[in-house]
Symmetry: C2
Subunit: 715 residues, 2 copies
Amino acid sequence: METTLNSSQKNLHALYNPGHIVIVGFSRDESKEPAIFLRELLNQGYKGKISLLGRERGQFQGCEMYDSAAALPEGIDLAFNMVAAGKTLDILPQVAARGVPAAVIFTSGFAEMDPSGADLQRKLVEACNANGMRVVGPNCPGYFYLPNGINLTGIPDIPQGPIGLISQSGNVGITLWDQAKTIDIGFSAFVGVGNQADIPIHDHIEYLGQDDNTKVIALYLEGLPDGHGPRFVSVCRDVSRRKPIVALKGGRTVGGMRAAQSHTAAMSSASKVYSALFKDCGVIEVAHLEHLLPIAEVLYRCPPMKGRRVAIVGSGGGHSTVSTDEVELAGLTVPEFNSELQAEYGKRLPSYAPKRNPVDMTGGFTKDPTRFAQMTELVLAHDPNFDGFINYGLYGFYRNGKPPADAVHTYESAGPVIGHVQARSGLPVIFYTPYAYRRDPAYSALRNAGIPCYPNIHLAALGLAALYERNQLLTKAADTDAKVDGPAETSANPALHGTGITEATAVAYLSGFGIRFPKLELCQTGDEAAVAAKRIGFPVVLKAVLPGVMHKSDVGGVAVGLSSSAAVSEAATTMTGHVTAALGAGRQDGFLVSEDLGKRRELFVGVRKDSLMGAIGLVGFGGVYAEAVNDTAICLLPATPARVAACLERLQSKSMWTEFRGEPAVAPAKIAALLNALDRALAADRLTAIECNPVMIVGGDLIAVDAAIETTEVA
Amino acid sequence: METTLNSSQKNLHALYNPGHIVIVGFSRDESKEPAIFLRELLNQGYKGKISLLGRERGQFQGCEMYDSAAALPEGIDLAFNMVAAGKTLDILPQVAARGVPAAVIFTSGFAEMDPSGADLQRKLVEACNANGMRVVGPNCPGYFYLPNGINLTGIPDIPQGPIGLISQSGNVGITLWDQAKTIDIGFSAFVGVGNQADIPIHDHIEYLGQDDNTKVIALYLEGLPDGHGPRFVSVCRDVSRRKPIVALKGGRTVGGMRAAQSHTAAMSSASKVYSALFKDCGVIEVAHLEHLLPIAEVLYRCPPMKGRRVAIVGSGGGHSTVSTDEVELAGLTVPEFNSELQAEYGKRLPSYAPKRNPVDMTGGFTKDPTRFAQMTELVLAHDPNFDGFINYGLYGFYRNGKPPADAVHTYESAGPVIGHVQARSGLPVIFYTPYAYRRDPAYSALRNAGIPCYPNIHLAALGLAALYERNQLLTKAADTDAKVDGPAETSANPALHGTGITEATAVAYLSGFGIRFPKLELCQTGDEAAVAAKRIGFPVVLKAVLPGVMHKSDVGGVAVGLSSSAAVSEAATTMTGHVTAALGAGRQDGFLVSEDLGKRRELFVGVRKDSLMGAIGLVGFGGVYAEAVNDTAICLLPATPARVAACLERLQSKSMWTEFRGEPAVAPAKIAALLNALDRALAADRLTAIECNPVMIVGGDLIAVDAAIETTEVA
C-alpha cells in the first residue's frame, strides 16, 4: 500500500500503523486519563512498543518512562499528546524534533475556546510541521485502529468490524460504539479530528479509502476548514466509487452552527452547501444521528438497489400499510403485483390475505419462519421486475418466540435461508421486526446472512433509499468536467466597489463576460428615452436608474409594455413623479430603456462567495416572487450540465423547467454556461455575490433582465 | 359517569365495563384462539361472569358452556365473536336478541376482502343493530380495558398505565405494548376498531375522553368512514381540550392507501385532508410509528411548553451541536444565554466549556448526576426567559455506570432531584441519553419523577415541539364559527353539467353567489369585442371562448394589456388564427373581453368535494405557475378567518400574503368569505370542484380572474 501514498498519507500511515507510540504528559496516577488510556491500549492487545513521557523516569507496566523529549529513543511513529494546552507548545515540537512523523493532540483549550487559543493552535501546528510532524486535533477525543490493536480512546470493549468512523465529537463516537453492539457490527478505525488544525477530514477519508479493513466510511462532521471544500469533493468522488461514505452534518441550523463553533471551531458554511457537496461527490447524507450506523450497516451488508420498485412481503395488516407509506415517503415505489403473482399467492394464502403488494401472509410463520423467504422467492419467479424487498412481521418474539412443537424451522435456522434470497438474486432484502435490537440469535442469524434487521419501518425504508442512492452514484457517468479548483487569480476593479452599483454598471460589467441582456440604452431624459426606444424596437421597458435601491418597482420605477414613443415619454414623466414622491428629489440618475421580452418563465441564477468552496452557484424560481417562494438549489462550480440537471431536479418547481405549456425545456448546458460566466465575473473583481433575477427563458436562450452585484469593501 | 352518556356511549359503557361477557364460537381446543383468549382474560384477573357459546354444553375453567344463543342467560353485556365470517350472520343477531348491547367481531373476511364481504358486513350490522346491539369491527384484533381486568387480545403481560390506544391494526398494537415496557409506561384501554362498520373511531375517543383511567389518547388510524370527518372534528375539538390526543395516519401515500384498503377497508381521503383536520381539532400528528408512544409519553408526563425557547444543558460537545440542530429543525429555538448566566457558568465550569446555550459541563457528572439539575436551575435563576429544557449526556452508563467511590449522588437518587426542576418551574424537561431504553433504575427514577428519557435527540426535540403544539391548542381562542356541518341540501342545475363548461358560464354561475369578477362581456366577433372594450375601459384582456380547453394561453387564446379598440380588433384576428392553427376550425365560440387588472399577487382559491369532510377548501400560490410551484394548503369548511390564517401560515409562500413590497396583507376574512361562497356554489349544484385561479389581490379586494368548474355526470 505504501507505494501509492502521497506525503500526507505517509504521516497518516504512521498514525494508523505505528510500531512505536509515545504518550506525552504521562503520570502514574491510575485515576487520571493518561494511565487509563495506557491501560486500554494494553487491553486492546497493541503489539508495538510504548514509551511514556512525563516528569519521572523508570518503568510503568512494562513501558519505559522518560522525563525529557531529548531523551526519547529514535523510531517513534506516533505521539499521543495529553499535556495541557498551555504547555503543549513547549513539549510537542521537541518530540517532533526526535523524528516523530505524527501526533494526536487530545488536549482541549485551543481555537474552539477563544482567539488566544486559536493563536496558540496556529503556533503549535507551525512548530510541529516545521519539525516534520503532522497533527490530528487538537481538541481530539482520541482514535483507534482495531486491526492493529490500537485503542487510544480510554473506552473498553469497542466492537471490531468494517466501519471506519471519522468524527468531530468523542461523545458521538461513544454513542455509536454502543449502538453498534446492538446491531452486530463494529469498527475498523475511529478518529476524532477535533479542530482539524493540520490534517483535515478528507485526508482520513483518503487513507481509509485504501484500507482493506474498512468497507464503509461513516462521518460525523461539523465543518471543514475554510477553502477545503474542493479537495473534500475530489477525495470523496474518488473514494465513494470504491466504498460507501455516509455522513451526518452537525451544525445545520443557526443555533447548531454556534454550538459547533464553540465545540470544534468548525468553520461553518451553510448546511445547504454541505448537502449539495455531499450529493455531488457521492456521500450519502443522513438526517439524524441515530440513522448514521444503520445506514452504514445496510450499505455494508446489502447490494445496491438498481431501481425504485420495492416488494413488501410480511405478516400483519397495519405494518403492511405503514411499510408502504414509509417506502413511498422515502422516494421509492410499491407497485401492485402482476396477476400471475397474485394468483400464486392465492394458491398458498387464505382468501382474506392481501396479495397486491404488500402481500400479508397473516401469521403462520412461527412454525416455519422461512415462509418469508418462500413468499419472497415467488416474487422473483413470477413478477421479476422488482429491485428490492422488505420483509416484515413480529419475527423472533411473537408469543415470546418459542417455536411450536411441530416447527420445521427455528428462527436461527431460517436466517440463512432468508439471506440466500438476497445472495442468489443480488437484490437487497431488509427485515423489519419490532424486536430487532434485542440481542437474540434470531437476529444474529439474519445479520450474519447479510440481512439488516431494523426495529422500525422508517429505517428500513431509508435503508433501501440509501441503497438506491448508492446505485445511482455507481452507475452515473463520471462528470469529468466537474473538477473543482480554487478560484482563479483575480484583480480588483475599483469601479465596481461601493454600495451604489447601478443596474447599468452591473449590466455593462457582466456583458463583458458574455452574459446576454436585452438590448438596452442608458438615457438622461424622457425625450432621450423615447428616441432610444424607437432604435430598440417596441414594446420596451422603462426603468428609473436608482443607485442603491433594491426594488425599483416598489417605488414606481418600472413601466413595461410601452408600445410607442409617446407612451415612453409619458411613462418617464409619471415615473419621475412617483420616484420623487417615494424617495425625495435627487435620487434618480436617468432612465434605462430596454426590449420588453414579454411574459416568460423566469429563473433566478446567481453566484456567491463561500468560505468552504470558494464560490457556489444558485439556481431557482425567479421573478418578483422569488424570495417569497424561496425555491433555489445550490450548484457546485464549475457548473456542468450534469450538475445543473441535478440541481434543477431538487427544485420544488422542477416541472417548470422541463417542457412546460408548449415552451421547450431549459437546457442545463445554457444555465451551466451562465453560471460559469458569472463565476468568472465574481472572481475577476473579488465580488461577494452576483444575482441575475429574472433570467428570462426566450426560446432556447437565457437573457438576464436584471442583475445585482454585492461587494464588500476591499481592505 | 353514566348520566352524561348518549345512547351510543351507553353501548360503549357496556363494552368497557361489562359485568358479563360471552365468547361466541368457543371450543375446548387449547391450541385454538377462543381458548387462548379465554385463558388471557382469566389471567388478567377479570372479575365478571363469563359464558361460552359453542357446540357443546358443560363447564370449562369454571365458565358455563352453551350450545345455542337461545339458551344464553339474560344480563350479558358483551359478546366477543370468534365465529367464521360466513356463519356470523346466523349467530350474532340471535345473541343480540338476548339483550346483549355490545359486540366485538374479531373475525376477518368482510369488507376488507371483497364486495361480497362488504355486503355480508352490511347485513350483519343491520341485523345486530335491529336487535339493539352495537358492534366493534369486524376484522378487529380484540380489545382490553385493564382497570377492569379485561384483556381480549390473546396476548399476555400488557403493561397498564394512562394511555388509551385506538388502533386499526392488531400488529401495531402488539408492537406498541412491547415498546411501552421499555419506557415504563402502559395502557388503560386498547380497542382495535377494524372496519368500523358500526362504531367509528371517534365514538371511542369520546368515551375515553371521559374515562378517568385514560390520561392521553393515542390513535393508529387508516381512515374514517365516508362523511364522518365533521363528527370526528367535533369530538376531538372537545376531547383535546381536556386530554392530549396523538395520532399516526396510516395510508399517507398512493401505495399506502391501497394497502390500508385491503387491510381495514378504510375509505381513504387524501392524507393532506387528515393532516388539516388533525391540526384543526387539536390532534397532534406524528410522522412515524415509532414516535407515537414517546410523544404520548411526553404529553402525559410533562407540562405544555408556553413558548419556543429551549435551553440545552448537558455534557458532550457533539451531542450539544446535534441537540441544537434537532431542536431548531423541530421549529423551536435555542437562543444564546444572557451574559449574567454565562458569567455564572464561568464560575462553575472550566474555561474551555461552552456556555452560550447549549452549556456543556464537559463531564464531571458521574460523581454527582444532580449537576444536570444544578446547571438547569441556574437558567431559571439568571435567565428566566426559557420555556423548556433538554438535558443530555452519557447519563447512567458512561464507563459502565458505576459511581465513583466519592459519589454524592447515584443516578437513582439524582432522578427525583432532576424531576423537581420540572415540578417546581412548571417547564418541561426532557432527558437525552443514548442508553435511555436500557431497562435500568437510573431511567425509571427519572421517569417516575416525570422526566421522559429518550435514546435519541431527534425524539427529544419532537417531544418539546409536541408540548409547544399542545400549549398553542390550549391557549388559542375557541373558533366558535368553525362548526363543521354536513353539506347543505342541494338541487342540480343541469346547465352546468357536462364536459364543456366555458369560463363565461362559470363566471355567470359564480357571480350569482356573490363572487367578484372583473367587468367582462361575451362577444361573438372581434368588432363586437372592440366596442365592448370601450365600454369596459382600457386596458383590457381578450380571451377566446374555447369549451373544454384547460389552458387557453397555450394555444394563443389570451391577449393582455390591449389599450385601444384597434389593438382589440387586431388581437382578435390574430387570436382566431392561432387557435384555429392549434385546434382546427370550429372550436372557438366567440370572445370574452374583460378589465385588465395588471400585475397583482395571484392566489389559488378552490373548493373540492371530499369523501371524508363533504367538501374542503384549498388556498395557495396562484397564477400560471401554480401547478409547478405546487404550494397549496387545505382549509376546512366553513372557512373562518382563524382557519384561513392557519392555512396561509402553512404555505411555503406565506410571506407573499402578508404585507409585501408595499402591498397590504391579504385579509383572511376575505379569503374565508370567498371559500364559503364557493362552498355554497359547489353544494347548490352538486359539483365536484371549483377552482378560481388566479384570484387577484386588488388593494383589499379579491377578484377572481378565471374560474374552472369540474362536474361528474349526474346518475
